[in-house]
Symmetry: C2
Subunit: 162 residues, 2 copies
């Protein structure tokens, strides 16, 4: 592949990441704060839990991709390590909405600046020894798996009435 | 990127595709035929509809990727163009299970034989003129979007009891 083709590879991956984010963000945008407090199905997670969960997981991509420190580590206790429950006070909905927009803008900007070979560098949660054996544990793999994670929860949010 | 790096790019994409298929297939495998006849949530699609839907969509990848004719075009009327309903007779569950396994084995085999530059060739549903303007409408894009489609429904199937 020439340089143009290498760029096309990463551009295609990045466009898929952006399209996936655009689709799920439209669900958050068209549902009111009150509607996001509804569960996606009886007895299942509330939509707001999925929003907070996605912010926390994407925030965790910053150090994983070598883009810097986390900005919202406090969200893990609310949205990752503990299941959804209606007793724990949550951050303001607008704060979660804003964090979702800003963390994705930051990740997308940093990803768009990576050269093709930098997509293939190891992510920070794999040791050099393991990476030598498993060279697919790279930045590209993180982006692909997190894009899939967004789609997973997008499918669940699609069960909401609108 | 050297040749090794180019191969690593496509290998990473292919591993993500395979992992995503492995996860959703485990849901189909651990649920009995009877359990797959249950809806994923009250009033929503039955799991069997999602299984048939995914077989039909992946079958459609064969011509789209230039891998040959469709094998199961009759599934579209049951699982794509019409919504789920309990009145229409379905194919035998074992037939759907077998088709799911075999279509994915075929797609994965053919994808693993593509050279890196072949991943960037246009898919068959885009014209040469459009492709000149939108070069990301390539085979890679099809595989990324279909992988996301699997994750979308995997998230819904995760709402089943097991």
């Amino acid at each position: 592949m020439d340089n143009h083709q290498q760029d096309l590879f990463t551009t295609t991956v990045l466009k898929n990441w952006e399209l996936t984010l655009k689709r799920i963000s439209a669900v958050f945008d068209r549902n009111s704060d009150e509607e996001l407090l509804q569960p996606i199905a009886p007895g299942k997670n509330r939509a707001v839990y999925l929003l907070g969960h996605l912010v926390a997981i994407h925030d965790g991509m910053l150090p994983l991709l070598g883009f810097g420190d986390r900005q919202h580590p406090h969200l893990d206790a609310l949205f990752v390590t503990n299941p959804d429950n209606t007793r724990t006070p949550l951050p303001a909905m607008q704060e979660l909405r804003n964090s979702w927009t800003s963390i994705n803008a930051l990740l997308t900007e940093r990803l768009s600046q990576l050269r093709p070979e930098e997509w293939l560098e190891k992510h920070t949660a794999v040791s050099s020894e393991d990476f030598a054996r498993e060279p697919h544990r790279n930045r590209l793999n993180i982006v692909l798996s997190r894009t899939g994670h967004v789609s997973y929860h997008y499918g669940q949010l699609a069960l909401l009435k609108k």
